[in-house]
Symmetry: C2
Subunit: 229 residues, 2 copies
């Protein structure tokens, strides 16, 4: 038996790569996904496929409803912005930003970690391609880790919790290369903010464009089939 680690797993390209990295470092993975009122259950199906393919000790799907607060196109019923290409992406905070999302996700991961006795949490945040999300910056993660060590029994009892962000300084192309080197099948993943009911990605939202740019820069084909040209 290895050391337990909680891995936040959305079923997208980044978190799938993170799961493979956590496993390659010898951790027993306890995957955690969220059903948070998002319009696309497609993401959760991808998370289940990925958890099964890469292998986890346990996969928990926590229900949280961020819709009670309103305020983002990923949870509310407003239009996901579309672009013709990645050059249109800006560094402003996008409307797809979910208030406090990573803070909520990490807080559930913290509860899970404490329950399974894990002192390691893996999250696929990325500071380069983060599209203006404040809660993807290294200084945020460091502050979260510091708070978490004061929040729990672990902190009181002298052991310490580490939040691992193996992708934080990587480009999407580097992420794709890292995952492929570990045998990740990106055909199982789902990154789109606005997939069809059948799960087909749009190819035009921020997330699809970043993903496609990553594969293009890596000089590799994306195994997914997009519905837009």
């Amino acid at each position: 038996m290895g050391t337990p680690a909680v891995v936040l797993l959305s079923g997208g390209l980044d978190s799938t790569t993170v799961l493979a990295i956590a496993k390659s470092r010898g951790f027993d993975a306890y995957a955690l996904s969220f059903r948070y009122g998002q319009r696309h259950a497609v993401e959760l199906e991808a998370a289940r496929r990925v958890a099964s393919a890469i292998g986890v000790e346990r996969h928990v799907v926590a229900e949280i409803d961020l819709r009670v607060f309103g305020g983002s196109s990923l949870t509310a019923d407003i239009e996901v912005p579309k672009h013709d290409n990645a050059a249109e992406l800006t560094s402003e905070i996008p409307v797809t930003y979910v208030p406090a999302r990573n803070t909520i996700f990490l807080s559930f991961a913290l509860a899970y970690a404490e329950t399974v006795g894990a002192q390691d949490i893996f999250i696929g945040v990325n500071a380069l391609d983060y599209s203006g999300y404040p809660d993807c910056r290294p200084e945020y993660i460091e502050a979260y880790e510091r708070m978490a060590n004061l929040a729990t029994r672990a902190g009181v009892e002298g052991s310490s919790l580490t939040i691992h962000t193996p992708l934080i300084e990587m480009t999407k192309a580097q992420i794709v290369h890292a995952g492929l080197a570990l045998g990740v099948d990106y055909g199982l993943t789902s990154s789109c903010y606005d997939p069809s009911v059948e799960g087909q990605p749009c190819g035009q939202c921020d997330s699809c464009l970043l993903r496609l740019k990553g594969f293009a820069e890596a000089g590799l084909p994306d195994p997914l089939v997009y519905r837009a040209a």
Copy 2:
């Protein structure tokens, strides 16, 4: 219209007093309660009564299910510890501790605050009577506030978020006096970890004992009727 503030409201003695304090400081209160798989919906009924009596702009009840992780008598089906009197309470972390609970609650408060444009969050944590909960200590709250200011648009845009803990250094007796001075009706509140179906408190759990000790030290009667002698 006053300044908006999010107030975490369990419907217990502490959070009810905090709501009255937030209002007395001129804030428009946005109350936030949780249905988190706790056995006692009694608590939520108390929160609704209190929100209505004291007056809030809005009261949101967020559903979260901490049972998916297991691990505490407040959410799982294990016995709540009972004592004959408050002298038996220890400073060890009790089994009623819910992993990462305040971290999760504050994270939802942060999302709510961002959605309603609030820069102030009130929480009724108490460092004196905290019964060994690591996430009730001042250093934890300070670390949370620092993290929160890096997590959100507010932090990025230069404004700042404050977590108010007006009770943190108060004894239960002082809390009771403060609430009564603000006109709080403690007969509306519910503090018990193990109430009857009708909502009657047990008088023997950690929370009842701390509450009763507070009223006794304040030299005042608790308006609640307890089922134990």
